[in-house]
Structures are given as structure tokens and as C-alpha cells.
């Protein structure tokens, strides 16, 4: 395997990992605050739809992104009201959000655009295009570093860079700020946080606002950057893969980056290598290559993660003692 193939794989992994990474970090904020969120999928989907629909109408990807963020925030707050204020079951609320997103996007999409739930193809400024980082062309001739910079690091859309910058930012917020300390505490022992005179519901609401924003970016990336338009159910389980990555990363930001990159790489391998010829032995069938990411997921989760302990107060609505 030569360097070119490695670089192409890495490039493809970065693209494929971006929505997972954003969703994974979104889940991290929510779950660290003690609110399980299996509605990441639905929030991404609704954001993808509104981003593409708005971008198609206005012709601006940025306005589309804003609409996607707004839609995702509304859904996130729906989850917050149900599970924080009304202390409902967080899993049920999450499932409801996923269903609602699937139905709503198809219904609105067909009503508005008459194309069976798709939005029109986005062209020109209605999409986030790949940007060349400064010096990419000049550095490309430098051995090893040059191609890595020019092919893998440069040439993605702005949302990809936002996603990757969100990782150190999340680390800093979580471990170096007062808000982060309280956020971690409220997911472990809300009673203690409450005793210290800090509002548990407020903290959780704040966490879910961040979740909504990150899911919104993920959705907008799917429909206005990776693709040129919304297609029904285009998230295709990415929200759940992000949850798996979150467990794999044990609810920590840097491992979340590596976990999602790994899932991205596995997907890229499944796409890139279909029928692999093995000298002498025969051909590995395409079905196996496509199942490989899932097989490796099971192997990794079962064998290498060790014990993943979720935030202790996760899934439990907080009831203040009288």
C-alpha cells in the first residue's frame, strides 16, 4: 500500500468522521450533565433538512446553517423540557424526537418542494465548499509532510475545521472552567451540586443548548457540505454510531476524536476496498469488506474498551429533596 492510498483513506476518513465527531461531542455535553440523549440522530436530521431547505431558498449556506442550528435547538429544548422540567423518561423522549424528525422532514420536504421529501440540489453559495489552507499548493512538494498537509488537512469545508476545533474547546470547557466542573458534577451527583446552591435544571438546560448547537452543525454539514441537498433519512444511523463512539471514548473529548476518526476510517476502508485480492488465497468478498466496520466495532467495544462507566446520574431526572 503506497502513500497515495494512505492519504486518500485519511482524507476520506476526515470527511466521514466529521458528522460523527460533532454528534459525539453533542452527546458528550448532554450525557455529562446527566441527560441521556438518543435523539442525536433526530436532531441532526431536522438540522440537515432545515439547513438544506433554507439554503435552497435563500442561496446562502450560512443562512442555511443558522436555520439548521435553530431547528436542532428547538428539538433539543423539546428533549430538555420533557426530561428535565417534566422529569420524563429520557430514552422515550429521545426516541420520540427521532420519529418526529423522520416524519416531519419527509412531510415538510414533500409539501414545500414536491420532490418526495428531497430538497432541490444546492449549487454555488448555497453549499459550504472545500477551502484550501494557505500554502497547501506550495508545501505539496515537500516529502511526506507536504502531501499530508495538502491532501488530508487542507481542502475540507469550514465546518470540518469547526468540528475539529470543537475538540480542544470541549476539553478546555470541561476540565478548565467552572462551568465544566459543575457540568461534570451534575452528571455524577446532582444532589451535591444542588447543595452548593447551583441550579441543577439550569445547568442541564445549558448543556442541552450546546448539544443542540453541535447537532445543528453536524446536520448542516451533512446536507450543505458533504452532499448538495437533503435526502430522506440521510443521517442513516450516524447519531447512533456517534453514541457508540461516545461509550468507546468513555465520555471524554480527546478519545472521542480518535474514536470517531476510527469509525470514519473503517467506513472509508469499507468504501475504498471492495473486492480485495489476496495473492494465492482468493478474493475477500465485498460483503465482508462492508461488514468490516461493524465487526471491528463489536471487537473493539467488547475487547479493548475495558469498563466504560457512564456518568452516574445519567438517565435519572433530578428531584429536589423537600
Amino acid at each position: 500500500m503506497d502513500l497515495d492510498i494512505v492519504l486518500q483513506l485519511a482524507d476520506s476518513s476526515v470527511r466521514l468522521a466529521t458528522p460523527l465527531l460533532l454528534a459525539c461531542l453533542a452527546g458528550l455535553y448532554s450525557e455529562r450533565s446527566g441527560v441521556f440523549d438518543i435523539g442525536l440522530e433526530g436532531k441532526m436530521l431536522i438540522a440537515a433538512f432545515f439547513a438544506a431547505a433554507t439554503a435552497a431558498v435563500t442561496g446562502s449556506a450560512w443562512v442555511g446553517l443558522a436555520a439548521g442550528l435553530a431547528a436542532s435547538l428547538v428539538f433539543s429544548m423539546l428533549h430538555a423540557v420533557a426530561s428535565i422540567t417534566f422529569r420524563g423518561n429520557q430514552l422515550i423522549s429521545g426516541v420520540a424526537i427521532n420519529f418526529l424528525a423522520v416524519g416531519m422532514t419527509a412531510l415538510l420536504g414533500h409539501t414545500w418542494f414536491r420532490q418526495g421529501g428531497q430538497t432541490p440540489q444546492l449549487v454555488g453559495d448555497a453549499r459550504f465548499h472545500a477551502i484550501e489552507l494557505p500554502g497547501a499548493a506550495r508545501l505539496a512538494d515537500v516529502p511526506v509532510i507536504g502531501p499530508v498537509y495538502a491532501e488530508v488537512i487542507s481542502g475540507h469545508s469550514i465546518l470540518v475545521y469547526i468540528a475539529f476545533l470543537a475538540v480542544p474547546l470541549t476539553w478546555w470547557v470541561l476540565y478548565r472552567t467552572r462551568f465544566g466542573l459543575r457540568l461534570r458534577a451534575v452528571g455524577e451527583n446532582p444532589a451535591a451540586v444542588d447543595t452548593a446552591g447551583i441550579s441543577v435544571p439550569l445547568l442541564r438546560y445549558q448543556a442541552l443548548v450546546i448539544t443542540g448547537i453541535l447537532c445543528g452543525i453536524a446536520g448542516a454539514y451533512l446536507s450543505t457540505s458533504m452532499n448538495a441537498g437533503f435526502v430522506r433519512e440521510m443521517t442513516a444511523g450516524k447519531g447512533f454510531i456517534a453514541l457508540a463512539a461516545l461509550i468507546f471514548a468513555k465520555w471524554r473529548p480527546w478519545p472521542a476524536l480518535f474514536a470517531t476518526l476510527l469509525f470514519g476510517l473503517l467506513e472509508a476502508i469499507g468504501i475504498r476496498f471492495q473486492n480485495v485480492e489476496l495473492g494465492g488465497i482468493g478474493t475477500i468478498p465485498v460483503q465482508f469488506m462492508q461488514a468490516l466496520p461493524y465487526i471491528l466495532t463489536v471487537v473493539i467495544l467488547a475487547g479493548f474498551v475495558g469498563k466504560a462507566i457512564p456518568p452516574r446520574a445519567g438517565g435519572e431526572p433530578y428531584v429536589k429533596e423537600e
Binding site: 486518500q8 476520506s12 414533500h110 418526495g116 421529501g117 462492508q290
Partner: protein, 329 residues
């Protein structure tokens, strides 16, 4: 719960349109979706053309999953729709089972052969049309490397691929064709993300013309080709307009004619096998205002010559499905 059901039902996007008249024809689209800009959309256009000509209505449903095939077929048959057109090879096993139960109803299946007395099977010689677009692709390619992205990995799609490669090799025997299939399940018909990734991988390997036979997945293929400044080749419908200047041509498969003719013939239509090739106008390559600047007169002359030779039987394009193998790689 009923609210949720309404929403989910609406998710089926195009519900069975209810208008009551005797023996309305009906059409069932496959999982790629009615608006896949390709295969199913061609069928839709055929149905709409019939509607415009006659002013009559037809019933339609867009499947959401495999389990709905039999349900949709039986529902239409019970409701008295006649004929019922099923668009896609995947209906074969269901139709085999359902058709004998409704001997007075006529069924049509596109892309597959079902041997029942009340079924008309319409199949196309996709290898002939693919041969022509392969020739155009090879003449356009500067790198001598071309790509093919298929949808679901089935013999039918290999037939497209094989015809394409034969066309490419007829122009440039040294050309390399990268072939990828999107998947092995019906989901492969509607996965533009994966289509785009496959196309990007082929472009990274040097491909500068990429042909897709992947239904809705092809949107991603054509988009990736346009993004990278190379050429895509559309399929089934004329897709030249989608990315003007970056869609070299489209392999037209006149599914619209198959649907239109079935609707026109009505309940008394003939059954049995109908094979549509270049000669019958069932397949062709697209040449219109969107791609006339991409195809030089020399290219057009050469491909039209081959077209005539295929019609006259001087060139025989190997059909993958005749022996499940392809003479060229």
C-alpha cells in the same frame, strides 16, 4: 399515537392518491424513491405523460421498505387497479407469488422476467446504451482512466458495467476502468454520500469520466465529479441538466415508455416478454443543449456509427446476464 401515525404515514410522502374510477392503472416505485432523478423518476414521467394525454388518473405508491412490496401489490389489485406497473427487478419474487391470485389483473414488471400469463415483463438492453456512453467517455478521458459506480451489486447492474467497459475498450484498448458497487442491499439505490465517496476515491486514482448506474446514489456521484471538475455520465433519465458542463452524457433507458405504453394499452394489454434495445428505441445516449459543447462532432460521428452498427447487428455487445461473465475487465 394517532398523530404520530399521521406523521409517519405522511413519511410515505406520496400516499395512495384516492380517486375512484374503474380500472385505474397503478404504479409502484421502488426504494430509490420516485424523485431519484434517474430510474424511478423516468417511470414517473411516463405515467405523467399518459395522464396529460388522456386526462385520466392513476394510482401510485412509493415504497419505504421491502416488506411493503406484497402489501402494496395486493392493495392495488384488491382495489381493482388494472394494469399495475411495478418498477424494478426486486418485485420479481413478490409478483411471482401475487400475480396468480389475481388472474384478471394485468401486471407489468420492469427489468426482470416473470413467467405468469398475466404479466408483461419489460427488459432493456442496457449493455448497448452503456457501450455508447463508454465510447464517449473513453474519447473524452485524458487520463485513460474511467470509473463506474453501480448501485446494488446484482447481475443487472453488472450488465451496465460490462457494456460500458466494452465501449471504453473499443475506443482505447489500454484504458483502465475502476468499478465499484455501492452495496448489496436495496439501500444502495439511495445513498448519495457513499456514491460521492466512491466517486472521489476513483477520481483520486486518476479517473476523469465516471458513469453511474445507481439510481438516487448517482446524485452523489455526479456531484462529486462536478466538484472535482471531471465528467460524470448519467443513467436512465436524461441527467445532463443536473450539472451542466460536467455531465458528459446520459445513458437513456426509456422506462417512461414502458410505463406509458402499459398505461395506454390498459387492461387488455398483451403480456409476455418485451425486450427493448437500441433498435427498439429502448436505450440510447443523451445529446442536448447541456452537453453539446462537451461532445465534438468527431466524437458524435464515431459514436453514431457504432450505434448504427449495433442496430444492424454488425457489433454485438456482450450481455453480462447471458452467461454471468464479462469478457473484458
Amino acid at each position: 399515537m394517532s398523530f404520530m401515525q399521521t406523521l409517519l404515514g405522511a413519511g410515505a410522502a406520496v400516499a395512495v392518491s384516492a380517486a375512484s374510477a374503474l380500472a385505474e392503472p397503478a404504479i409502484i416505485y421502488d426504494l430509490g424513491g420516485k424523485f431519484d432523478k434517474s430510474f424511478n423518476e423516468a417511470a414517473y414521467r411516463g405515467a405523467e405523460r399518459w395522464k396529460k394525454e388522456t386526462g385520466e388518473n392513476y394510482r401510485e405508491v412509493e415504497l419505504q421498505n421491502d416488506a411493503q412490496r406484497e402489501q402494496a401489490l395486493r392493495r392495488f389489485a384488491e382495489a381493482g387497479a388494472n394494469p399495475i406497473v411495478t418498477v424494478g427487478f426486486a418485485f420479481a419474487s413478490t409478483l411471482e407469488k401475487v400475480a396468480p391470485d389475481y388472474p384478471d389483473t394485468k401486471f407489468v414488471i420492469v427489468d426482470m422476467v416473470v413467467n405468469q400469463p398475466n404479466v408483461r415483463s419489460v427488459v432493456f438492453k442496457e449493455h448497448e446504451g452503456s457501450y455508447l456512453v463508454g465510447m464517449l467517455g473513453a474519447m473524452k478521458s485524458k487520463t485513460g482512466k474511467l470509473g463506474f459506480v453501480g448501485g446494488m451489486d446484482i447481475p443487472l447492474i453488472r450488465r451496465f458495467a460490462c457494456g460500458y467497459v466494452q465501449g471504453v475498450k473499443a475506443v482505447n484498448p489500454d484504458a483502465v476502468v475502476f468499478q465499484n458497487m455501492t452495496g448489496t442491499t436495496p439501500a444502495a439505490w439511495n445513498d448519495p454520500v457513499k456514491g460521492a465517496e466512491l466517486a472521489k476515491a476513483q477520481i483520486a486514482q486518476g479517473a476523469d469520466v465516471i458513469y453511474h448506474a445507481a439510481g438516487g446514489t448517482g446524485r452523489g456521484v455526479l456531484q462529486a465529479a462536478a466538484d472535482a471538475g471531471v465528467y460524470g455520465i448519467g443513467v436512465d433519465s436524461n441527467q445532463n441538466y443536473m450539472f451542466p458542463g460536467h455531465v458528459l452524457t446520459s445513458m437513456l433507458k426509456r422506462v417512461d415508455n414502458a410505463v406509458h405504453d402499459a398505461f395506454r394499452d390498459g387492461p387488455g394489454m398483451s403480456t409476455g416478454l418485451v425486450v427493448l434495445g437500441l433498435k427498439e428505441g429502448g436505450v440510447d445516449y443523451a445529446y442536448d443543449e447541456y452537453n453539446k459543447d462537451l461532445i465534438t462532432p468527431e466524437m458524435k460521428a464515431k459514436v453514431d456509427e457504432a450505434r448504427q452498427k449495433i442496430i444492424d447487428g454488425e457489433i454485438v455487445v456482450h450481455d453480462y446476464m447471458s452467461d454471468n461473465s464479462c469478457p473484458v475487465k
